[in-house]
Symmetry: C2
Subunit: 340 residues, 2 copies
Amino acid sequence: MSNKVSIKDIAKIANVSIATVSNVINGTGRVSADTKNKVNKVIQELQFVPSASARSLKDKNSHLIAVVVPFVEKGILQDNPFYWELVRGVENGARNHEVQVILLGIDEHEDFSFVRGRHLDGLIVVGVYEQSPAYRKILSLGVPCVFLDSYLSDPALYQVDLDDEAGGYLGTKHLIGLGHRAIAVLTGRLEQGGVNYFRYQGYLRALRESGIPENPDLVLEIDSSIQGGYQAAQRLGHHKDGITGVFAFSDVSAMGLIRGMHDIGMRVPEDVSVVGFDDIFYTQYMIPSLTTIRQDIVSKGQAAVTMLLDQINGTATTSRRVTVPVSLIVRQSTNSFRKI
Amino acid sequence: MSNKVSIKDIAKIANVSIATVSNVINGTGRVSADTKNKVNKVIQELQFVPSASARSLKDKNSHLIAVVVPFVEKGILQDNPFYWELVRGVENGARNHEVQVILLGIDEHEDFSFVRGRHLDGLIVVGVYEQSPAYRKILSLGVPCVFLDSYLSDPALYQVDLDDEAGGYLGTKHLIGLGHRAIAVLTGRLEQGGVNYFRYQGYLRALRESGIPENPDLVLEIDSSIQGGYQAAQRLGHHKDGITGVFAFSDVSAMGLIRGMHDIGMRVPEDVSVVGFDDIFYTQYMIPSLTTIRQDIVSKGQAAVTMLLDQINGTATTSRRVTVPVSLIVRQSTNSFRKI
DNA sequence: CTGAAAGCGCTTACAG
DNA sequence: CTGAAAGCGCTTACAG
C-alpha cells in the first residue's frame, strides 16, 4: 500500500486538478490560500511523497550526485580512512541541499553509462589524473563535475585541491629545521601534475632553499598504503645514505613505516624522524603521535558539494578553483637530528 | 547533446517500433536476429542508455538501494573506519548486480520520505536498536531491509549479525588464560539486545566459567571512539582494583586506550594487556600490534547485499538470519599476567 | 485562481 | 516476429 498514492489521488480527494496539486507542492503558479490548505491537508493525511522518477523524467535532473572514488583492488575502494572522511563531507554537504549521494567505486573498466541513465545532476570525482582512463570518459559525459585532488590543467574545470606544494614544503622544512639533511620521501604514484607530484615539488623547493642537493635514491615510489609504508622501512633501514628523516606523503604509509622501523630496531623519533600527510583521525593517538600535514578533509568534501550545486544551479559565482590550505602539526614523531 | 537520444530515436533510425527496441534492450519478446543486430548497431552508434527514471516509473523498482548509517554528530557519520569497510563491502556487492548505492547518514530527525519518493528497492541498515527512533520509521516504510549489527528480536526481519557473544567470550577467555583476573571492559552503549550487550554476555560467561566474580566497577560504558578509549585510560589507571587486562569492544577505543595508558606511564602489554574488537586494517601495525577479535567486515557487507537482492527478487531461499563468525587474533598487546 | 491536455521515456499487454 | 496504444506520475505552458 505504501507507494500507491499519487498526485491524482490527492487531486481527486481534494477536489482539484492535478495541476493545482502540483502547484501547491512546488509553490509554483497562483493558488488561493484555501485551496492550498485543503491540498496540503490531504497530502499530510495520505503521507504523499512525489515520485522522484516521474519528476526527473520531466525535469531532466535527478537531485542525485555521485562521488567517484578510484579503485585499488577490483571493485574495492581504498583502504584508507581518508576516503571515508571525504565521503562523509560530501554526504553531509549534500543532505543540506536535498540531494542524495551515490557512492561509486570505479575500476578502469567503468563506463559511467549509468551517469546518463540516471540523469545524475553531477559528479564529484576524487583523484583522477589527466592520464587516467577515467578522465576522458568523465569529461565526455558532459555532466557538471567537481574534481577533488586531481590537478587538471584545463582551467575550465571546477576543482578543489589542496595546497600540496606548500604541504611538501612545510614538512620538509620542518625536518631541515631540526637538523636533518638526508631526508627520504615515501610517495605514491609520482605522476606529472598529480597530488604527489606537487608534494614532491614542495620537498624539492625546501631542499633547494637550504642548499641540500637532491638525491633520487631518497625518493621511494611506493604503494600509498599501510603495507607500502611497512615495506619501505626495510629499504630505508639498510640504506647507504644514513637517512635520519622520512616524509611520507600519506598518514597510512607513515603508520606502516613507523611500525616497520620498529620491527627492524630503529626508533622513531630517536633514530629517524617521520612526517606524515593528511592528519587522519588517529594520528595523534599513535605511539609516537605523528607529526603531519593537516588538511580539513570533511570541509573539503563540503566545499566540493557547494561548488557542484552552484554549478548545477547556474549560481556559480565562485571561482572554478579552490585551493584548501594546509598546516604543519608537530607531534612526537619528529625530533632534532642527533639529539640525545 | 548527451542525453537527448531516446528509444524513439533508435526506433526511427533502425526503422522499427519502439516496442521492438525495448524488446531488444531487455531481451524480452521474440525478435529476429536481423532486427536485433540492426537495433543494437544503432544503439551502439548513438551510445544510447535507457533512462532509469522512465524505467522505474513503469517498473516501480529503481535498482537503487541505500546504506543507512547512524549519525554521531549532527549529520556526520561515525569517525570509525569500520563503517568505511562496511560500506565498501556493500558497494562492492552491489556493483556486481547493477544496483547503485546511496549513502545515507541519518540523525534522529530523518523521516526517510525519500525512500518512497525514490522508489528505493531496499535498505541496508546499520546498527539500529529496537528502541531507536529510526527503527519503527524504517519498518513502516514497507521496503525490503537487511539489518546489520542490529540484533532485532523480530524473527521476520532479515539480519546479518556477528557472533558477538562468542567474540566477547573469546577475548575474555584469552585474557583469563594468560592469568588475568581483574579484567575491565570498555563498551559502547550497553543496550539490551545490542551489539555491546552480547559481547558483554560473552565476557560474563567466560568469567563465570573460570569462577571469577563479576565486578560492575570494571565495566566502563564509554563513547565507542578513539577519544572515549583515551579518556578511559585515566579512569582505569587509578582504579582501585588493580586491573591487569582490558577488553575494549572496538579497535578504535582500544587504540585510544593504549595511547592513554602510555601517557600515564602504564605499559602495554607489560603492565596491562589489551584486547580490541573488529580487526580494523591498522591493528597489526600499531605499536604494540593489537590482539583483537576479527570479523570480516567487507564480506559482511557483501552478504547483506546478496540477502537484500534475494529478498527483492523473491529468490530469498536463504534464511533470514546470518551470523558471521569471529576469531581471536593474538598479537602483541596481550601478555601473561606478571610475566617478567 | 484553476483545469484540460500534452509529453517526458519507457514497458507491457494486445493485435496482427 | 512486429507494431500501435495505453499508462506509469509528474510538470508545464496555455486557456479561461
